[in-house]
């Protein structure tokens, strides 16, 4: 995003110093001392709590007929306000060939919310599949550590192709074909209305993620994530990187679902001292913020923070 702009001299100076340090094999004392801060689970706990509460609200309001959040994660009404999954709404608009006012309102509401809290924040803070996928990832990482399983990374652009293809399919055939594959819809409905045979498909995906390719659905396939990614480009809440304390260990990138958004943490890559904001693919999961031993990565609300 900033690639074309000239890197300020002070940043270049820091980069040069870091190269020297790294060449000398130098890990400074405060570097080692600071490692103690790493491995906090603050953001993960907050995120899991939010995710579970949101999904429980759906379940509870149906079970006890509270009319708090009606529907499921594909479309719902939150105390009367329409909400709709933007990708599902787009598919239906194309398949149905009609503009449906309630869907438009619901989609705009959702877009507005995620412009504030961060585009793919939906993925890591709301989507129930993300949670089970994270647990599968833990198993996957344990197995790869023991060399029992090999991770096979796929092309990160695949999800963009699928995003387009499923929209075309919806338009041409009149079927919202992706919705029958969507583990988000299947899981959300399973939680609220009881599990169906679709759960087997979700289990299959999890097995693929454990034994074949790490987080392949969220990383390489899911077009819902792509839609939120486009929102994320413009969203306010983002992870921001400050180079001054960074040791370039790369711990953040190993924790990250989409490590390419953290490329500027590599030595010599950061274009700025502060204000290095991550790209749209970031899910605001906060794993990098948790793991960073030097607090070089933080959550920030762009533009708004400048007001105070």
């Amino acid at each position: 995003m900033w690639g074309k702009k000239a890197i300020p001299k002070e940043v270049i100076k820091i980069h040069e110093q870091r190269y020297k340090d790294l060449k000398a094999g130098g890990k400074t004392k405060d570097h080692i001392a600071n490692q103690a801060n790493a491995g906090s689970t603050k953001w993960r706990n907050r995120r899991w709590a939010t995710l579970i509460i949101i999904n429980l609200l759906f379940v509870i309001s149906f079970q006890f007929d509270m009319q708090l959040v009606e529907g499921s994660l594909t479309a719902s009404r939150f105390i009367g306000f329409h909400m709709a999954d933007p990708y599902a709404a787009m598919q239906i608009g194309l398949a149905f060939g009609q503009v449906i006012l309630n869907l438009v309102i619901g989609t705009l509401t959702v877009v507005f919310i995620y412009l504030i809290v961060g585009g793919r924040a939906f993925c890591s803070w709301v989507c129930p599949y993300h949670l089970v996928s994270e647990l599968a990832e833990k198993i996957h990482l344990r197995l790869t550590k023991k060399k029992l399983v090999k991770n096979r990374p796929f092309n990160i652009n695949t999800k963009y192709w699928l995003w387009g293809i499923f929209l075309i399919i919806a338009f041409v055939t009149g079927y919202t074909a992706f919705e029958m594959l969507s583990p988000l819809g299947i899981l959300s409905r399973a939680l609220i209305y009881g599990p169906g045979i679709g759960i087997l498909w979700v289990l299959f995906l999890l097995l693929v993620e454990i034994f074949y390719s790490r987080r392949i659905w969220c990383k390489n396939i899911c077009p819902i994530g792509v839609t939120y990614r486009f929102i994320g480009i413009f969203s306010l809440t983002k992870v921001v990187y400050d180079i001054s304390g960074c040791h370039h260990d790369g711990a953040c990138r190993t924790a990250c679902l989409v490590p390419h958004v953290l490329d500027f943490t590599k030595p010599g890559k950061a274009p700025r001292l502060h204000d290095n904001y991550v790209g749209g693919d970031c899910t605001n999961c906060g794993m990098c913020v948790d793991i960073c031993p030097t607090d070089s990565l933080k959550f920030d609300i762009r533009f708004v923070n400048k007001l105070f």
Partner: protein, 262 residues
Amino acid sequence: MAKTNTKKVKKKKISRRSFNRGVILTLATLSAAGAGIYPITSPRASNYLRPPGAVPEAEFLASCIKCGQCVQTCPVEAIELAFLDDGFSVGTAYIDARNQGCDFSCDALQCILACPTGALDHKIDKPEQVLMGLAVLTHPDTCLATKNLGFKGHARGKDFQGLLRYSEIDRWKPQLMRDHPVDREICDVCQLLCPIKGAITMEQKTKGDGSSYWTPVVNSNCTGCGVCEMVCPVQEAAIEVIPWKKWQDSSGKDGQESGHVG
């Protein structure tokens, strides 16, 4: 120079491989979606009785967002969601009439109001305008009325969970059917409990041998709500609702015209 060249070649090779693997993944995902097309070709897929106000089946499949807001709002819990084994219908709303018909006890058609996508047509706002399907006496041989038999007791047994509105008891709260046993000299339970006035009438007919018998007759204002199918006291409902889609398929004409039998 040579070194950088091999590096470039290597990088190109990696990116090509990565591209190819992306193509494979795309095809795999698409074929998984394609596998869902298969079940829709089965006759079962089109047999669903859709909720009140449902637009024609193809448009319904295109527009239902599978959120279940209609399920949540229905006071008698008549609406259910289909699952993966139902192909493209996965998660779409339907009514299993034998289990729980739509008795219109919400009056204002809450499911239609709840639908965010127009899969249930917002233009319909009265029960009388609904056309989900049509009731047909599919098994006249088992119908008690045609055998001139009466019925006394619990139409669907003492354990049946089905709900119905009994206006004279409570206008707003649907009652358990099993709490309201019937006693009819000639069985006319379908006509008795039908929520649409005059949709079913009992008529006396004469056989070839001169003996007479009773039969329920479905009239043109039947909405296909499925209450008659739910309440029919014989083992396998003698009267069933045929979804509108099926009428269209078999008659090749507009279901609204051809389906109605007088």
